[in-house]
Symmetry: C2
Subunit: 698 residues, 2 copies
Amino acid sequence: MTDLIGQLTLMPLVASGVGLLVAAFFYFRVKSLPEGTDTMNLIARYIREGAMAFLVREYKVLAVYAMVVFVLLFIAFNGEGTGLLSGFCFLLGAFLSLFSGFVGMKGATYANVRTTQAARDGSKANALLTALDGGAVMGLCVAATALLGLGVLYMIFRTDPHLGTVLHSFAVGASSIALFSRIGGGIYTKAADVGSDIAGKVVEGIPEDDPRNPGGIADNVGDNVGDVAGMGADIYESLVAAIVAAMAIALTAKTQYVMGLFTKVPEGVDPSFLAVTLPIFLSGVGLAVSILCIFGARMLRQNSPAMVLRAALVVPSLIIVAASFVLMPILGVSQAVTGALGAGAIGGALIGLLTEYYTAWGPIEKVAEASKTGAGTGIISGLSVGMESTVYSLLIVAGVGFAANWVMPAGMGLYGIALGAVGMLSGTAIVMTVDAYGPIADNAGGISEMSELGPEVRAITDELDAVGNTTAAIGKGFAIGSATLTVLSLFSAFILEVNHARELAGLQALVLKLDEAPILIGILIGATLPYAVGATTMIAVGKAAQAIIQEIMRQFNEIPGLREGKAEPEGTVIVDIATKAALVQMMLPGSVAVLAPVAVGFILGPAALAGMLAGAVAVGASLSLFMANAGGAWDNAKKFIEGGGIEGHPKGSDTHKAAVVGDTVGDPFKDTSGPGVAILIKVMSVVSLLISPLIATF
Amino acid sequence: MTDLIGQLTLMPLVASGVGLLVAAFFYFRVKSLPEGTDTMNLIARYIREGAMAFLVREYKVLAVYAMVVFVLLFIAFNGEGTGLLSGFCFLLGAFLSLFSGFVGMKGATYANVRTTQAARDGSKANALLTALDGGAVMGLCVAATALLGLGVLYMIFRTDPHLGTVLHSFAVGASSIALFSRIGGGIYTKAADVGSDIAGKVVEGIPEDDPRNPGGIADNVGDNVGDVAGMGADIYESLVAAIVAAMAIALTAKTQYVMGLFTKVPEGVDPSFLAVTLPIFLSGVGLAVSILCIFGARMLRQNSPAMVLRAALVVPSLIIVAASFVLMPILGVSQAVTGALGAGAIGGALIGLLTEYYTAWGPIEKVAEASKTGAGTGIISGLSVGMESTVYSLLIVAGVGFAANWVMPAGMGLYGIALGAVGMLSGTAIVMTVDAYGPIADNAGGISEMSELGPEVRAITDELDAVGNTTAAIGKGFAIGSATLTVLSLFSAFILEVNHARELAGLQALVLKLDEAPILIGILIGATLPYAVGATTMIAVGKAAQAIIQEIMRQFNEIPGLREGKAEPEGTVIVDIATKAALVQMMLPGSVAVLAPVAVGFILGPAALAGMLAGAVAVGASLSLFMANAGGAWDNAKKFIEGGGIEGHPKGSDTHKAAVVGDTVGDPFKDTSGPGVAILIKVMSVVSLLISPLIATF
């Protein structure tokens, strides 16, 4: 009877296996490439070692955290008889995230210097290829390990009554790592960036990538721990959460509604289980398509990098929708599924393009123009750009939700919204490849500057870096958009699970009415949490940056000859300070995210928790989009001026200085607080889903 | 049978009458005071005429708007037989708001120069008294006209089946004026402020209050149209909306629940109507207490202004709670009502004190410190202060909601929350008095500088002005806190009204479940609206400020001798530009607020509208608090540095310049966009409440 479902589950496992093999191939190909001069080699080694040192220390902290959660899960779920199982699934979800982050970051730190070397050989196409292959290691690892873990668990437990707890625990593992990696990495990267920027440029008058700047290595390490490892864990958890939410909704859906999804249920198949299997199967299809598209992008390497990368973000989604269109009738499934999937895939591409518009086109010219009358007007302009882009981005997400709900048969609207999130994340492997390409290209530029290579090398790495900045902004819009849709599904899954548990306990279903006091109060409490994480992460970056500034100034004062370039800066000391600061400062915002739903759920009950999640989603989704896009706009407005975009106001002019202020504010906005807030709402939803059976009878 | 209820309704009418008489007394007392030198007189006349010119032109725009709404209401409610009635109540609500704004602003523009003159006579106590009396004209007018209008309508229609429509239409009238006055006034005041600041200080190197700065008059006009007329209309509408929401909830509450409110229902009285009457009766008590406290504050004028004003904000609330404690047993009403009222009153005072802490104490020193390393770090620090304060402010509001719900008997929790809002606003007359005191003191300082009076005069006006800055921040926290609570009540009233209308139409009650697709999509749409208003108002200030900067620079270039102080600037031209720009630019954000609920309500139905309101409340309350408090922190951090707060970094230093950047960003944050977003959610809720019977059967 489960033959078809078994085959459908095998598909993502096969795709994962292939994905991991391809990732290994890229990893070793990149590693075998030439590394360039001794200086380049040394700088790259410092960056790699700094990044690895951060990861290892972060892993130690996470190990303690994981043990604590493991014990708590064991205690909490022991009554249900799933204490150990839940704990191990949590550890598996966490371990696979760490594994993909570790391998991916190692790949990226091999690729950066080899990209510089390819540029030194004068081949833009080879440089692009190296950076892309390095990014693909991360992209493929993220998508493949997520599907591998979920697929294996589903294969084993698909007929087990505790399937829900198994999947939710895995998702909590993924979320926990994402939370700390993203926030810790975000604090690290921006503290190093802002710190070396201010101490270098403002205090000592030298650029951040200057070989004399002691913060240079830490700045490059930060790109890897924040934008590669942090972003990877973030996307890994989004993919896991989207699939788990869709599966959880299908698990609790009533059979009479599920039947509406099928034109003809294949013989001997339980339709509910087919609906549960579809999200992971379709994600497997997405991974297979993404692998093919990565090879396609490599073949196009002779073209303009901007064109190649933009195509890589948009085309795979369309192919996946087409594949679904062909496959669904074969499975006897209504094209409504393709419709919901397609709404998500197209919505994701639209959000990406919209984000590009707001952070790379007309709006940034307005921000640059506004900087002519000073930093104040430049900041105001960037804030309004960020707000405006938030409006349209969220309207697209709402539109995807509306369409995905609308195409579905009666009673399956929430499943449709969850499939929309799966569709938006179906191209995860390639989106993450392009995302990880960004910091590799950025590092390649940093290494060429610190190694004092010629302007022709720098010209190539600059072009690759510029494209990377745009794709980074696109990736962020994509990540927050998909996170919002995922959270809506998780939220629905949470309420369904609560009522499912109440049904099992013989209790009446909980009707969560919008106009009840606990819900309204929950909404207000939920609204505060994104601001709590926003405030603590901004303060964290500020504190860590201050510590770095102090140390850089100490080195310039105490190391004779440093200012003249005759002595070496002690870059590893800065790396050490940034690592410690990031790990300490990530505790408070991280704890808020995990503890808030537990506290409210157990003290005020499931209704207040549902209200809190609703408030946190509304505020968190909008606040994170606002911060990410305002930050992107300031960053690129500064670059626009540096590129001579405003006649008579070149680099170094007052207008440029005003734009630099915007960039400084934008740094923690777009790379620490914005993503931190987005992950907050995901973690809260996943944790709520996990504890739903425990608080259901409150 | 209605004897007691009639007496209870008479109470607010009597209090209003007394309030208006006292306001008239203060008005003529202030007007009879000496005006000082010819120069002072001339400047004051320019300010008064500029402010009146703005109001008159704004009224013309509003007249067109009111006519359109009148016709729409007539058409919409004609089927219910209340077309004309609804239209006239709307006009009455709007007219009374305009009336109190007009009289209050006239009082303020008489008081400013007379405060300067009192300072010139060397009497700080008289200067404080003049500014306070001027503010009291506004404060008393606002509270008295609101209660007068509501009281008369309630007296006439209290047994009419259309009482709901009557009250809601009155509230929509109040909201509409508040919306446009607040946004239009906000754009005007900050465009003039930022424009004259930048053109003066940055471009020409002269202070904003320098007699040579052509923007000086417009800047002072702006204080009046924004912080007096705009703020007054805002608070007027909050008071009206809070009372109406509480009455509406009581109107639809089931009798068996209402009975729980009473220890002993007075003979011959309908308990439901007693519950409907309580909110307006208690507001009448609040007005009476406030009048007494205004006289009390006047008697304390020999003390430190800071002490007098802080006491004026906190003490009346406590007296009102005590009065309720005495009165409720007499009426046979449970002390639960006093509890809910007290939770609101104490919560309001707590939010005020919290706001003072974040915008006047330790946090602003941190912002000032952070400005040492540049404008970027100063901005980051201010943003994090704003975010942190948002968390605690909203938690207080949530706590008030929790307590007010908790003390109430079963089924009356939402009524309790509404009473909490009434309690928070019970001291409206005195809070608004202190609020309007701020711009009067600010103007007094401006006039003394522009008239080139001596430093001893300036010392007195500076002290009064500094206190005004703090009370302005407190008032804003208070306004947004009470707005949030009011909106929660309006929101509940909206859902109750929808279901009441469905019941009358023989339809099943609508259960608005949090996990239904239309609600979730509505929440996302609602989340975009505060950002839409935030973006459009920020852009509006930017555009209007640019126009003013251009004109100021033109005057300096084309008027010979202006720079040397030998020729007069053409201040009225700037006033004219600011007026036009504000009136044009307020259209877009204003329309969004009114049209969004109508469009969503009629197209997507009441469920999506409820979701939208919930999303808008969560995002709007937090975003407006964040903007208001961050703006307040930057403003006072700059003043802290100017007062020599950071040794070695005086006025004019790089640190000070960095702080000025924060202040520039903070200007539209705290005085345009923040209040604009707060009023958005109030207007949306009131409009939704009004249209609830029309969309209920969707």
